[in-house]
Symmetry: C2
Subunit: 623 residues, 2 copies
């Protein structure tokens, strides 16, 4: 696929025409940046080891285009090199029947990562480069990005990570056209891109981004210089069509008919858009089939650990991750300077090389963990709930869009955190991931269930959140004193655990409050009131049969925001099932809690055993 | 309050003792970093214009401590200078009855901003410094922060913003102790703090952070040098107690009894902790009263604009913001390089100085907007929904914790965005803010309601999200053709608008789908089926009376994630009201949508007028 300079030049003209045509046909899209990036893209896809006829070849170089709105540039390049069909691109661009969406989408041959939200692509590139190191593969990773998005803080986080991990297999090419939506980049924000790369320990090379010779030469140097290297390519937006050059107006707008005629004429290209417009009309209005990119997950799950005495769930979690990462070369954990707290220290003691330590850079950590997980590494992203869910909300939404295989394991959930207070009380570990279609949430009840859950998610391709608290918990026992989740227990996604039976009502509960709920059960029992206690570890997939069976007086208890958690999901499920329990109480947090010992906090916010029992008895008396 | 060097030295010893005592009494907290920061804090509170007897004096310097876990250091300093009572601090630290929470909390005299999630404080400082400029006040803003949190990308975003806006009224002091939770900062992540400040155009000064003379001298230089300046103060964690110095272990752990004796002995301080332990026992286990910090909102709302022809809600929004910002000196808008799209261009044309342009740096933008809004500026944070809600989820959670007065106005919500595709379809503008206690969400139905909503939120102290789509919409009309929201319309929070009456059922809808729902109403009517259509612009505060009246066959329609939006809230409300409509249909998005013209997308995802009517008729026939 190596092209001569002459061939590149010809393709540069052809692709510029294609960019203008497809945005005209779609009547939307981003021609300006596509034309400033196109010479970079053509040179890069020519230079890199990529295989149109075998696009997912494991040894291919990974190319991430971070400014995903230049999809016309990317699609026209992919068409020029035979990854995709050129007519389908031009006619189908941005049509719901086509895979050629407004922003580039993972799964299109030649596209490694869905981008569009700016400043996230370099983190993905770092993830792919780390995955290569873990897999002992020598492919190279390229990230093409824009100057405007270089303002995003996450970019600096990613740069430093590349330096720390000596990612000599990573090259960035910045399309520096000095234009962003609102005008000249230099006027929008003060960003010294070169100085910032250098402050992060990178090598930089400055070139003319429309000179193929310079681009290819820089790519050659960067590939072999032993450093992560940034090629800063000075370009002109709209390059190639005189009236579009250096004009912010053409950032995100298709040309008019007259403008198109004029532009194609200047490029020496025939205006054949009517053909594509006619083809577009034949496309059916329906969503295209989703591209699925899975890898076979091959993980030795080892023997489960059985906990017979008081243990925090996070230790069970950390211990199980260590077991898996020690037994399997393809299991890695990502940490954000909380090793000791999230209990990655078990792994750290035995195999520190299996922890990627990112420091206080959660956005970058979440995004690179997603990319690693999509590229063959079973990746655990361990963090406090407030960082691993709330702070990285959109990074996980983008991971979900990218169909990754990420295991988000968050500790310090709920007021069980205690004294660290409201900034650290994670209260949305059930509610927030509803935004990340496809993510499953599991809240294990005790250390034994935690152990089994961690092993379960390791072998299932897909995204999971596993949320645990902070405190030590007694393993849950049956009424005869034996372990509820014993050595024979196998975790089954979506199964509810009937911890105690009862006919006067039911308490559905999840997570750290289970011991309190069991206490409430005892208090009620001592007064002759028998409530079933049901552990709901999978709040997104409720068991209708159980809900139907236990449905007279329903109580939900959660160490979670009461507005968007278990209680809310159970209420909705009953409503959808057209069932109306005789009584309903929903207990959880409805404000930012204060700081304090978690036992005090459970008391204050009505989640202690006594308070739960009290609420139930009140409701029993007074209707 | 200016102290001599001798006095500072004595206070340094006293405060070190207090830090060790309060963490011992609470049996938790962060002594190590408190002791590395304490000499900086004491010097700063001595040097700055702050007033213990009048802590909220409008002309005070603002001091933000970004690494909020060093609360023992801050509280002991505040006690030393008479802002708070020393005995209450030592006995009450981290107790739920006390205001002295685990992380410093806005509203404690001398504390300007609640911090705890690292790397966010500098953005708040930038917000305060910008507020000073808008208010033409010459107070200075100080941000004390740690080296570990300097890795956070948002910090670099904030630095560049300070440079761009020439914030010579801003000084940072970095407590550079080279220790973070997991070990030495230099091993955790490659961060060249000095080089990065300089790459962002700051002046830097390096000093010994335990030398009062050097600290005071640097503060003097920084206040008057005409630049944003960073004082990089080299310190030692645990400084002052030999066995604690330079040990990561003491980052987040109280001393044992023996260690405390030894440490206090070394400091030459009497061990009187028993007294405080006894005091602590008398504290009642209840949440303390919330500190309320409001300012009087004085805004001239001007005359509403009436739209009689097709207009996009975002233009109505941008036009109303421009009206307000032009008529009022205390109204400012924050933009993230989307002026033209979020329609701040109306304001930009007439008063560009009233727009703070942050570029592609959403985290910083959201946080600084929150701080500005808390400090006397009615602040509109304008962005696309995916950035202004999803990407900045945690920044707004922290704004909510800080009880700000922020107006988050997001455009491009829903699949109404169309061709930009799934990365740009904001689907959680109702669901996500449920995590930000106190935030109210308003989804206006047409340009007229949008205009009135923007004026309404400007005058109400508090946090709001106003979410609108992208497309042009016909103003909603009554059946007689007159405007539904006419010149006499006054927006009332929590009121539902009965757009059409009907007795066969009801469609509750919100936002961009209203025209489709009105079309469905017409289709059904043409078949003799009469459905009421109700606009729910305030999905968090539903009107029970209306719900009760229209409750036979209930349909909800939203251009939003169906798992966490209007349908989910309405289902829960009926369930809590113990009402079970005869039929229920919930329409919305249940997967990441594809790219395409929004009319096509509404069709594909069942939200067009025809599809809605079809679904209702199906359900009517077949039970």
């Amino acid at each position: 696929m190596k092209k001569t300079l002459e061939e590149l030049k010809a393709l540069g003209t052809q692709c510029r025409g294609d960019i203008l045509k497809m945005t005209y046909v779609a009547n939307s899209g981003h021609p300006g940046g596509s034309m400033s990036s196109i010479d970079i893209l053509l040179s890069l896809y020519s230079f890199a080891n990529v295989f149109p006829e075998d696009p997912w070849n494991e040894d291919r170089d990974r190319i991430v285009v971070s400014h995903g709105h230049i999809s016309p540039g990317v699609y026209s390049t992919l068409a020029a090199y035979g990854f995709v069909n050129r007519e389908e691109v031009i006619s189908g661009f941005r049509h719901p029947a086509s895979i050629f969406e407004g922003h580039i989408t993972r799964g299109i041959p030649g596209v490694e990562w869905t981008t569009g939200n700016l400043g996230q692509g370099l983190s993905a590139g770092v993830g792919f480069a780390l995955a290569a190191k873990y897999k002992k593969k020598d492919y190279h990773v390229y990230v093409v990005m824009s100057d405007g998005e270089s303002a995003k803080g996450q970019v600096q986080e990613a740069r430093r990570t590349a330096k720390k991990y000596h990612l000599d297999n990573l090259t960035v090419i910045v399309d520096y056209n000095d234009i962003q939506i609102s005008g000249h980049a230099r006027d929008i924000m003060y960003v010294d891109i070169k100085a910032e790369f250098e402050a992060a320990g990178w090598k930089t090379i400055e070139i003319n981004g429309h000179n193929y010779e310079q681009i290819l030469s820089a790519l050659r140097i960067a590939r072999n210089d032993g450093y992560p290297t940034a090629i800063i390519a000075h370009t002109i937006i709209g390059k190639g069509v005189s009236f579009m050059e250096d004009k912010p107006d053409y950032h995100g707008k298709a040309l008019s008919k007259d403008e198109l005629d004029k532009a194609l004429n200047e490029l020496g290209i025939e205006n054949d858009v009517e053909k594509y417009i006619a083809m577009r009309k034949t496309l059916e209005v329906k969503p295209h089939e989703k591209v699925k990119l899975y890898y076979k997950v091959d993980v030795n799950l080892g023997a489960p650990r059985v906990y017979d005495k008081s243990t925090d769930n996070r230790s069970a979690l950390g211990r199980a991750i260590a077991d898996l990462a020690i037994a399997n070369d393809n299991v890695v954990a990502v940490d954000c300077d909380l090793k000791g707290s999230v209990k990655l220290d078990f792994l750290d003691k035995e195999r520190p090389d299996r922890i990627v330590e990112i420091g206080v850079q959660e956005h970058n950590a979440a995004a690179l963990a997603g990319a690693m997980s999509a590229d063959g590494i079973v990746t655990f992203f361990a963090d406090f709930g407030v960082f691993g869910v709330d702070e990285t909300f959109n990074q996980h939404r983008l991971n979900a869009i990218n169909n990754t295989n990420l295991k988000v394991v968050v500790t310090h959930c709920g007021i069980d955190v205690g004294e660290d207070g409201k900034t650290h009380h994670a209260l949305n570990y059930i509610g927030a991931p509803l935004a990340w279609y496809g993510f499953k949430v599991i809240v294990p009840a005790d250390p034994n269930q935690t152990d089994r859950v961690v092993r379960y998610i390791a072998k299932e391709y897909g995204n999971f959140v596993v949320a645990v608290g902070r405190s030590k918990l007694e393993p849950i026992r049956k009424e005869d004193g034996s372990l509820f989740f014993d050595e024979n227990y196998v975790f089954e996604y979506g199964k509810m655990d009937i911890l105690r039976d009862g006919t006067d009502g039911v308490i559905y509960a999840t997570g750290s409050v289970i011991p309190n709920v069991l206490k409430a059960h005892e208090i009620l029992k001592s007064k002759g009131i028998n409530f079933a206690v049901i552990n709901v570890s999978c709040p997104y997939d409720l068991d209708e049969e159980v809900l139907r069976k236990y449905s007279n007086f329903v109580v939900t208890v959660e160490d979670h925001n009461v507005l968007n958690g278990l209680g809310s999901l159970i209420a909705q499920e009953y409503f959808e099932m057209r069932m109306m329990p005789s009584k309903f109480i929903k207990l959880g947090l409805s404000e930012f809690p204060v700081s304090g010992d978690s036992k005090f906090l459970f008391e204050i916010y009505g989640l202690s055993g006594e308070k739960i029992a009290e609420k139930i008895m009140e409701k029993l008396c007074c209707k």
